[in-house]
């Protein structure tokens, strides 16, 4: 048994040393987690969603646990792109792990200015365009409307030669349409999925636990079944690489995403439960690939896809 080649070529020069990344918003900008685990062994670190201006985020409470998952309503708290570019990026260049900056904005101009500032910084492996965070102004329009998503990505494409990944929202009627639109507009890869809109009700106070509209983004194992369907659908819709994320707790979960068509994966909420989760996923996947005797991880996908005819031939069936 020879060790498998774990590298994943996501395109436009972004080659991950392995397929396991830390999901945006669950690893900050890496500084905290570096003190707890060997982040440099990982395939990528996706930063907290970064905006043009610093943001304080939402009022508390911001997180609430539900069965098998958690809701968050952080509200994109971040120090703003200037700080990220000037104070953090120089650190990133010294790290072994590729750092991909997750970029969010309320309108096209915000995104572009954010990218422009980051373009002047060294040490960034690429961008993950967060068009799926429904918490700022028109933020959701991009993720929920294929045409708007395409326009945003086309504009972003014109500003950077770095790898451009687009993070898709699952809270849509047709995730494949959004994926196709961003692919056509020049995205190098897509990541799927961001959180699902959920609500926790407190029976005692007879009201939602989270403030405001009472909703938050649902993450964790409770979304895995949904995220797998989304990843498989996106996989069928586009040719560019797909990064799977949603409820991955261990290597077995990660394997399921690879089978469903993901080229790489991100570990999110699991890191909160177990800071070492991502490394354990990496070690577990390596062992699975070694045992299966595959040379490249992509081979694990193997027999799965034939069982899934292309969209349109046979409709998904429920009820």
């Amino acid at each position: 048994m020879t060790a498998p080649d774990l590298r994943v070529d996501l395109g436009r020069g972004l080659i991950l040393p392995n397929p396991v990344g830390l999901a945006s918003g669950t690893a900050g900008y890496g500084f905290e987690l570096r003190q707890l685990i060997d982040v440099d062994r990982l395939g990528a670190l996706f930063t907290k969603g970064t905006t043009l201006h610093p943001r304080d985020g939402n009022p508390p409470p911001r997180v609430a646990e539900v069965r098998g998952g958690m809701l968050n309503a952080i509200g994109l708290q971040n120090p703003g792109v200037e700080h990220v570019a000037s104070a953090y990026a120089p650190e990133f260049s010294r790290w072994g792990v590729p750092v991909v900056v997750n970029v969010a904005g309320g309108n096209v101009e915000d995104y572009l200015q954010c990218l422009d500032r980051l373009e002047r910084a060294e040490g960034l492996a690429g961008y993950e365009l967060n068009i799926s965070c429904p918490n700022i102004a028109n933020g959701l329009d991009f993720g929920r409307d294929p045409a708007a998503a395409g326009r945003l990505v086309a504009a972003a494409r014109s500003r950077t030669g770095r790898h451009l990944m687009v993070k898709l929202s699952p809270n849509v009627t047709d995730i494949a349409a959004v994926a196709r639109a961003v692919e056509e507009a020049g995205a190098d890869s897509v990541s799927a999925v961001n959180t699902y809109v959920g609500m926790k009700i407190h029976r005692g106070i007879r009201a939602p636990v989270l403030p405001g509209r009472g909703t938050g983004g649902l993450s964790g194992p409770v979304i895995k079944t949904l995220a797998l369907a989304a990843v498989a659908e996106v996989r069928r819709a586009v040719r560019i690489p797909v990064v799977g994320v949603g409820g991955i707790m261990d290597a077995g979960d990660a394997l399921e995403f690879l089978i469903a068509g993901a080229d790489a994966i991100q570990v999110g909420t699991a890191t909160f439960v177990n800071p070492t989760a991502s490394l354990e996923v990496l070690d577990g996947l390596t062992e699975i690939a070694t045992r299966a005797g595959v040379r490249r991880l992509r081979e694990l996908r193997g027999p799965a896809l034939p069982a899934m005819p292309p969209a349109g031939i046979e409709p998904a069936s429920t009820g």
Binding site: G25, T26, A27, G28, E32, L33, Q35, L36, K48, D56, G57, N58, P59, P60, P61, R62, V63, A64, E65, R67, G68, G69, M70, N72, I74, Q77, H202, G204, I205, A207, V209, P211, G220, P221, V222, M249, T269, T271, F272, V273, N274, P275, T276
Partner: protein
């Protein structure tokens, strides 16, 4: 983000083993586990993220103050209020206990105050046995614990605050007068303080706010005053940004890294009190 940020350099994820689970009066439980790293490194007011179950329900770890350390052993004081604490109080000797810590900012000890006034409300007792020992170790001669609860059975035992430090005074109050003075523990704060004092408080938010209000009105305010706060936590180590609490001067601070211990003036007290009750676990 304001206020000192905790040092994560000492934090480690440790697989420990429960060695004792003692039931106290009124539902409180003290769990002692073999956790050599945490025992060796935790400072008063710091906490650990605990997990004592497999599966995904409950999912997240739960934060608990380090109440005591002895050799390789660490103790936590808690009560069953929800699913996680129910599982924790049901632990038995020999059961595994996973602990990530120490986390958060502990109580400042330097310079060692002439007098330490500790204000404990109900389960807010948890961080204080360790604080008492540490203050005494560092030479604080005058340590007084003002310990309040709704009723006698819910008072944390005075002897457990002291744990051999017999010079430490423990003054008790109960809302119903069933033990000690009848009334709120905060009513004793003014008398116990002088300008040499450092105040350390932990308990329900309304109690802490009352302490803050009392101190503000004092002619001779203490040289410093700190409170330990709670927030629902995603990670406990600063990456989820979930544990925000209202900071004085606007904005938020992270309970897990710019807390849980916080200078009393750095908290936006009206903002804290306005939080929905579900926020207080």
């Amino acid at each position: 983000m304001s206020g000192p940020v905790s040092d994560l350099g000492r934090a480690r994820d440790e697989s420990g083993e429960v060695v004792a689970v003692e039931g106290l009066d009124g539902g409180m439980v003290e769990i002692t586990a073999r956790l050599p790293h945490l025992a060796a490194t935790a400072r008063p007011g710091e906490f650990a993220q605990l997990r004592a179950w497999g599966g995904v329900d409950p999912l997240l770890r739960r934060p608990f103050s380090v109440a005591w350390t002895a050799g390789e052993l660490c103790s936590f004081v808690l009560e069953a209020v929800g699913a996680g604490t129910r599982l924790l109080v049901g632990l038995r000797p020999g059961d595994p206990l996973q602990a990530l810590g120490p986390l958060g900012n502990g109580f400042p000890l330097d310079p060692v105050p002439v007098r330490a006034v500790i204000v404990s409300g109900g389960l807010g007792c948890a961080p204080f046995p360790l604080l008492v020992r540490e203050l005494r170790r560092r030479g604080c001669a005058d340590v007084i614990v003002l310990s309040g609860a709704a009723t006698a059975s819910r008072l944390y035992p005075a002897a457990r605050f002291r744990r051999g430090e017999d010079s430490v005074r423990v003054v008790e109050t109960t809302d119903d007068g069933s033990r000690g003075r009848r009334g709120l523990v905060t009513e004793l704060v003014a008398d116990a303080c002088d300008e040499t004092a450092a105040v350390y408080a932990c308990g329900p938010n309304p109690m802490l706010a009352a302490v803050a209000r009392t101190l503000q009105r004092l002619a001779r305010p203490p040289r410093r005053a700190h409170v330990s706060l709670e927030a629902p936590m995603g990670c406990g180590f600063g990456t989820c940004l979930g544990c925000a609490l209202p900071a004085s001067g606007g904005g938020w601070f992270l309970c897990c890294r710019q807390g849980p211990v916080r200078e009393v003036s750095e908290v936006d007290w009206p903002g804290l009190l306005a939080l929905p009750p579900a926020h207080v676990a």
